[in-house]
């Protein structure tokens, strides 16, 4: 079974720092593989271990994205493809999905596409479903498990507070939740081998797209402005005393407001 996993390299937004004026410091953040995309890779590797085949990881981004793909190789995937071209730059989710879709068509021989449910920087959760639409694949989103048998894929789906089991014929696209697995610690032998590999870079000419749909120009949405949210700050009443004393004061207050 051949699986394509789409990953995104993201700035580690959990390490964001703010300057003294309360402005976000956007530079200098380390880039990482979007964490849930590692779960996607893990899910693919586990399926490969059960069913054989090949896992190919695809990522679009600037040249630095090579390091994310190198890390995917370290985890033990068979192949990686880097989508880098100046014409891809500035893409919104529509143009990104279109570009990735073209690349997947070019790879051709696949049974399953897996993505993380969303990226930690943008949090749109759009690219997976949109790639499915471009490729005309059934979408199985929010997977807590993936099983493949008899040419079908079945997932446990976490649809908010509804738990469903859904099934589709292969090929299909699955987006995975973090809870699906614990991704592996990098095996050292694969790590060593990964650095012996050359990572193929595909540009516009390699995926034969309609160039009007690429990058910033091909993006229906436009960014108008970015700002840091302002927060209103009120006056706090601090309770003083031993833990038992403050607890009693608090409970009295809540009780008076009918909040207990």
């Amino acid at each position: 079974m051949n699986i394509i996993v789409c990953i995104k390299q993201v700035p580690n937004v959990t390490q964001v720092k703010w300057d003294a004026d309360g402005s976000l410091i956007r530079t200098g953040l380390p880039t990482i593989i979007n964490p849930v995309d590692k779960n996607a890779i893990e899910a693919a590797l586990q399926l490969k271990e059960q069913h054989g085949g090949k896992v190919t990881v695809l990522s679009m981004g600037p040249s630095q994205v090579e390091s994310a793909l190198r890390e995917a190789l370290c985890m033990g995937v068979d192949d990686v493809i880097q989508l880098t071209d100046r014409k891809f730059a500035g893409a919104d989710t529509w143009a990104t999905s279109y570009t990735i879709g073209c690349a997947i068509q070019k790879i051709g021989d696949y049974d399953l596409v897996i993505t993380g449910v969303e990226a930690m920087d943008g949090n749109t959760a759009q690219v997976g479903p949109q790639v499915a639409e471009y490729l005309g694949l059934p979408l199985l989103s929010y997977a807590l498990s993936i099983a493949v048998a008899d040419g079908k894929v079945t997932i446990d789906q976490k649809l908010g507070d509804v738990a469903r089991v859904i099934e589709a014929k292969l090929p299909a696209l699955v987006t995975v939740e973090k809870e699906i697995n614990e991704y592996r610690v990098t095996p050292i032998d694969k790590l060593i081998d990964a650095f012996e590999r050359t990572i193929p870079v595909w540009g516009v000419d390699d995926i034969s797209p309609d160039v009007v749909h690429l990058g910033l120009k091909g993006s229906p949405t436009k960014l108008r402005k970015v700002y840091s949210p302002k927060l209103e700050k009120g006056k706090v009443e601090m309770l003083e005393g031993t833990p038992d004393e403050v607890a009693r004061q608090l409970v009295d207050k809540l009780n008076a407001k009918f909040l207990i």
Partner: protein, 383 residues
């Protein structure tokens, strides 16, 4: 010498950090509750392909450098967990068997040390023998195609775990010869082997260190590692590597102590200012940092020599002599830095301090290493 951290090295560090953060807490929790290693510890290491760093792939290893291994150990050291000890042991014993063993011995004994089925042990120390091979009392008496082993080894790690150990014995078939020690690879579950309870140690919590006693234990001749009479040399070469690995772990321990002190110095506010901004404290941080950096460079230099295939035994002894008091001082300073919190088990620095104390006495004492370094310098023809 160039110690540039390459992209591969960086990824090794990243993998080690990930392992330390995601896997060690559960291991540590088990060790705390049971005062022993988790029974599946070697399986965990094998699954994450961390065993046999410097062992060729054909014997089940990874086939990479000792440098990459010590980078891994350094990260593990930051957790202050004793679980790096069996990790180092399987790696170093597998490498030792690869270095000295015949093809047959390598094929038989190395793969189990890399695939997680066997726990390695290396044993020399006895109740009355620290570092002198002439004092050994554990004997190997030839008997047909076998040897019969009798005696007791003291302070032996993983002695009570399944798998093979390398035991250095007085070879009675070499009686009267100058080099009369031989290294035997012995299945620790052989009939006639018994182990004491664990020693309660100052640090190294959860370690299974105990005495192992051999009573007429039969070992086939085919289990001899290297040649008869080479036992002590095998030990010396192994322990030279082990000292570097231990020091790498201690650099991690020291780094964590420094990190904790730094973190505390920014959190704790005195007179409206984080205490780290007071000269007394940032001088301490500066001193800790420099000590650590010097230790790290020395460890890297020694391991590079090992990887280059050069003699590194004396370098390794120098590493021990220098880094032991340095790291002990760095961890002590961290305790001091945190004041009463530093002496409290709520914070990790007291554990780091206790752990650092082991370097002076485990895997050869600080003093014997001073002897090695001093005597070598004295006897050397070069200035």
């Amino acid at each position: 010498m160039d110690f540039t951290i390459s992209p591969v090295n960086k990824m090794i560090i990243k993998a080690a950090k990930d392992f330390s953060e995601r896997k060690i807490p559960a291991i540590e929790a088990y060790m705390k509750a049971n005062n022993d290693y988790p029974p599946d510890l070697m399986e965990i290491y094998a699954k994450n392909r961390m065993l046999g760093f410097n062992v060729p792939r054909e014997y089940g290893g990874i086939g990479t450098s000792n440098f990459n291994m010590i980078l891994y150990i350094e990260e593990m050291g930051k957790t202050a967990s004793t679980c790096f000890l069996p990790f180092m042991m399987n790696n170093s014993v597998a490498e030792t068997i690869c270095h000295w063993g015949s093809e047959e011995v390598k094929k038989k004994f190395v793969p189990p040390l890399c695939d997680g089925t066997a726990w390695a042990t290396m044993a020399f120390t006895e109740p009355d023998t620290g570092s002198d091979p002439k004092m050994l009392t554990t004997t190997a008496r030839p008997d047909g195609d076998d040897f019969i082993i009798n005696g007791t080894k003291r302070f032996i790690s993983m002695a009570n775990k399944p798998g093979y150990g390398v035991f250095i014995c007085k070879d009675l078939s070499l009686a009267g010869q100058k080099n009369n020690t031989t290294a035997f690879i012995i299945d620790k579950s052989s009939p006639g082997i018994s182990c004491s309870k664990h020693y309660e140690l100052t640090g190294l919590e959860g370690a299974d260190t105990c005495d192992i006693t051999f009573t007429d234990v039969r070992v086939p001749k085919g289990n001899i590692l290297g040649n008869q009479g080479e036992g002590f040399n095998i030990l010396l070469r192994w322990i030279a590597g082990e000292r570097i690995q231990q020091a790498a772990g201690m650099v991690g321990v020291g780094q964590r102590a420094f990190d904790e002190a730094k973190k505390y110095s920014l959190q704790r506010v005195v007179n409206g200012m984080p205490m780290g901004y007071m000269q007394g404290f940032y001088w301490m941080l500066g001193e800790m940092k420099v000590k650590l950096e010097a230790c790290r460079l020395m460890v890297y230099q020694a391991v590079c020599k090992q990887d280059a295939g050069k003699a590194f035994e004396v370098d390794s002894a120098e590493v021990k002599v220098f880094t032991t008091p340095m790291i002990q001082e760095v961890t002590r300073m961290a305790v001091q830095f945190l004041g009463s919190y530093g002496y409290s088990k709520e914070y990790i620095v007291e554990k780091l301090f206790r752990l650092a104390m082991h370097q002076g006495v485990v895997a050869s004492s600080l003093e014997i290493n001073k002897t090695i370094v001093g005597m070598t310098a004295l006897m050397s023809r070069s200035k």
